[in-house]
Amino acid sequence: MSKILIVDDSAYVRRKSKQLLVDMGFDVEEAGDGTVALSKYQEWKPDLVLLDITMPEMDGVTAVEELMKLDSKAKIVILTAMAQQSTLFKAVKAGAKEYLLKPLDETQVKEVIERVLSED
């Protein structure tokens, strides 16, 4: 069973996405900010990280950079309501593999996660 770490400061988003991913058969853990995400990544070693962009303390782009320093092969999918190309470009440049726009679409979530998990 693949392990997915959800990182979002919104308790609502964590709850909704966790329900969705557990129903899809994934093992899911959550983190409310980038700093917790970094320690959880080291401890739990998830196969994929679903990461919000707009977060207090450490924003998503910085979190991508920090996660990539920990593990250059980290599979990170951005979860965001900020659909601007410039922000998404920064996240991809930092190492994110893909992005998902909020509100989440079940079919798209499944498709993107399975695709990224299957990449070498």
């Binding site: 400061d9 609502y12 988003v13 707009t54 977060m55 900020m82 922000t87 909020k102």
Partner: protein, 159 residues
Amino acid sequence: MEIKLYDDFVSVANEVLKKEVKAEAKKGRVSICRTPFAGNDINVLVGVTGNIEGVVIYGMSNQTALAMASIMMEEEFHKVDEMVLSGIAELGNVITGLVSKEIEQKGYTIDLSPPTLIVGKGTSISSPNIQRIVVPLTTEHGALEVNISLRERQSKGGR
């Protein structure tokens, strides 16, 4: 120069409300206010920076928040708690985030702050020197008021 974005907010809000709370939003009479915003029971504030700056505030009653959160989380809520507030904050975050794409396509740079919740009716919030466009939206779950106080930044300019 004041920018006219309320049509983008109306269409994006409608799209998000349809998906998240399964309801159509009807737009009421749009007005322009220069007085401070007097908060509703629950207010979600999203700060905007870049060469468009200001704030967007979404206001609603407790009753509307409970009705919307109950649909969003498929669970009946009777009290406004942290989870209800988190869901309502996310609605504001998602609407503003998706509108930011439209703004970027108009040639501006824009960054958003994480949503801030202000709970309590009558809280006065003002954005000095920026007019406030008030867009009332009505849904079957209650009313949502979108207050848009945005302007093009003079010093750095847009396109």
